[in-house]
Amino acid sequence: MAEQRGTVGGPVLTEWFGRANLHKLEVYEKLGGYEGLRKVVTGMSAAQVIDEVKASGLRGRGGADFPTATKWSFVPKDHPGPKYIVVNADESEPGSAKDRYLMENSPHALIEGAAIATFAIGGHQAWIYIRGEYDLPYEKLRDAIAEAHAKGHLGDHPFGTDYPLDIRLYRGHGAYICGEETALLESLEGKRAQPRSRPPFPAIKGAWGQPTAVNNVETLSTVPWIIRHGGAEYAKRGTEKAKGTRMVTVSGDVQKPGNYEIEIGVTYRHIIEELAGGPFPGRKVKVFWPGGSSAKVLPGSMLDTSTDLDGLKALGTMGGSGGIIVMDDSHCVVKGAARLLRFYAHESCGKCTPCRVGSNWAVRTYERILANEGSQIELALLDRVQQGLQGGRCLCGLGDAAGWVIQSTMNHFRNEYEEHCLHHTCSVEGALIHA
C-alpha cells in the first residue's frame, strides 16, 4: 500500500489517525468513538446539540465558511414531513483531497458526525453524496455503515432509544458542479446537476422538496470531537474569529505533498515549507493557490500570509476547500492558468450564459496565446472575459472562480502574459514554445 501522506495523531480530526484499522468500528469505538452520538441521543436535546456546536465556532469546511450551527438552526423545527442532512462528499476542487483522506482513514467519524447532525435538525435520515471516482472511500463508508447498523448505533433504536437514525449512500457520476449544494441536490434527485435559483434555500426546500442542511465531510467529521470535548475546548484553538483546526492538502511543486491538519492562523510558509517540505532544492515558490483552484493566487513573496479566513478575505482570496497548490519557478503561470480554464469550461453546467460562453472564450484565447498567436488583443480580451465571468452574474460561483484565475494570475504575473502575447517566448519553460 502507498503510505499515508499527511498528519497522523493531530489535534482534532486526525487525532486517532495512524492507529491500525481505525476504519473498523471496534477500533474506533475503543478509542472513544460513538461516545458523542451516544451522549446526544441518550441525554441531549436538539437545541443543546446546536448550542454546543455554536460554542465551538465551527464553520463549514467545504469552501463557503458558513457557521455550521447557524445552518442547522435554519431548518424549521415544526416541519411536519421528513428533514434531511445531505453530506457533500463530492470533493472535486482541483488541489483538494482532504475529504478523501478523512473518509479513507476514519469513515466512522463522518458517520457519527452525520448522525449527530441529523439529530440536531430533528431529522431521521442522512444522505452521503460521494463522487463516483471515490471507489475506496465508498467501500469504506458502505462497510462502516453496515457495522454501525449491526452494532445498533444506527437503525430504529440507536443506543436503545426510540429515535430512528439512518444513513444512506448515493454515488455521483462525474461532475464538478455537484460540489455546489443545489446542483448536488438536483443530482441526488436524479436530474442533470444544474444549480437552482435561491430562494427557496435548501433549509426550507432542499432534497426531494424537504428541509435540508448540506454539510461537508470535514465539517461533520469534526462534530463528534466537539461533542466529546465540548464546544469551548474546540474554540480554544485557532484565531479569535476563525476557530479550531482544519485540513489542507498541499500538492504540486513541494517535497512532501500531503493532507495536513493545521490550527487556523498558522502561515502558509509554515504549511508549505515545514509541513510539506518546501520546494525542491534550488527552486523557489513562485505562486500558490491558497484554497483550491478557485481561490485567487498569491505570489511566493506572500508566504507569510496567515490562514486566518478573515485575513484571506481581506486579501481578496479565501481558504476555500483547503487545497494548496504550489508552483515553483520552473513552471509557467500562463500554462497553468490555461489548464485551469479548460477545467472550468469543461465543468460549466451550461445553465448560465456568462459562465458557459465566457469560460470557452477564455479557453480559445489561451490556446491562441500558447500557440504563439497572441498579441495585445489577446491580453485585452482575457481582461474583458475575466470581468464578464465575475460579479455574481450566474446562479453559482463557478464562473466567478474561472474569472479569478485569469484576473489574479494576470495581476501578479503580467510580465509572463506579456512575454507570451507580445514576444512569443516563455523564459520559464523555454521548451514549451516552438516558434
Binding site: L136, G190, G336
Partner: protein, 190 residues
C-alpha cells in the same frame, strides 16, 4: 431481444423503492446497465427509461451530463488520467504520452485493437498528494512513472484470460484475498 438481461431489468425496477422519490433511481440504474454492457447504447437507455417509467429523452439527458457514463464503447480497462494542475505539475503530460504508446492508441476514447484498453483525460481525481494519478479498474494508481504505466498495461495483458484481474491498487489497505497466479499464455506449436 432486449439489450439488458431480464434479471438486470428486474433489479432496476426494484431501485425506485430505495429512494424518497423514484426519479433518484435513474443514475444507479444507468450504472447497472453500463456495468453489464460496458457502455450505454440507445437501446439500453430506452429500456432503463421503460423500467423506471421515465421519458427516454430524459434518461439520455441525464446520461449525457455526467462524465462517468459512456455512450461509446470503451476498453475493458479504462484509464482515467488526471491532467489537472497538481498532476500536470508532476508530469501528467508524460503519463498521457507514455500511456498512448503503451496501449497503442492515438487519441482519448479510442479503443486499442485487442479491445483491452482506452483512456480519457479527466479533471482532478482528488488524490493530489500522490500526483500524477490515474483511476483504473475502480482503484487509484499513484506516483506514476513511465515504468509504472508500462507495468499496469503489461500486467493486464498477461491476465487477460481472467475475468477479474486481481490487480490491486497501492492505495488499497484491505487484506489481500488469495488468488491464482496469472498464467502466461504461450502459443501452441504445430
Amino acid at each position: 431481444m432486449s439489450a439488458l438481461s431480464s434479471h438486470l431489468l428486474e433489479e432496476i425496477k426494484a431501485l425506485p423503492a430505495k429512494y424518497p422519490q423514484p426519479r433518484s433511481a435513474v443514475m444507479p440504474a444507468l450504472d447497472l446497465a453500463q456495468e453489464e454492457l460496458g457502455h450505454l447504447t440507445p437501446e439500453a437507455m430506452s429500456e432503463v427509461a421503460v423500467a423506471l417509467q421515465l421519458d427516454p429523452g430524459y434518461v439520455e439527458g441525464v446520461a449525457t451530463f455526467y462524465t462517468l457514463f459512456h455512450l461509446e464503447p470503451v476498453g475493458k480497462h479504462r484509464f482515467y488520467v488526471c491532467t489537472n494542475l497538481s498532476c500536470m505539475l508532476r508530469g501528467a503530460e508524460d503519463v498521457v504520452d507514455r500511456l498512448k504508446a503503451a496501449i497503442g492508441v492515438r487519441e482519448p476514447g479510442e479503443v486499442s485493437k485487442d479491445g483491452l484498453f482506452s483512456y480519457e483525460e479527466v479533471e482532478c481525481l482528488g488524490a493530489c498528494e500522490y500526483a500524477p494519478v490515474v483511476r483504473l479498474d475502480h482503484r487509484y494508481e499513484v506516483d506514476l512513472t513511465r515504468g509504472k504505466i508500462d507495468s499496469l498495461v503489461n500486467d493486464r495483458r498477461l491476465v487477460r484470460s481472467h475475468v477479474k484481474t486481481g490487480v490491486r491498487s497501492s492505495l488499497d489497505t484491505t487484506p489481500e484475498p488469495p488468488r491464482k497466479k496469472p498464467v502466461r499464455r504461450t502459443k501452441k506449436s504445430g
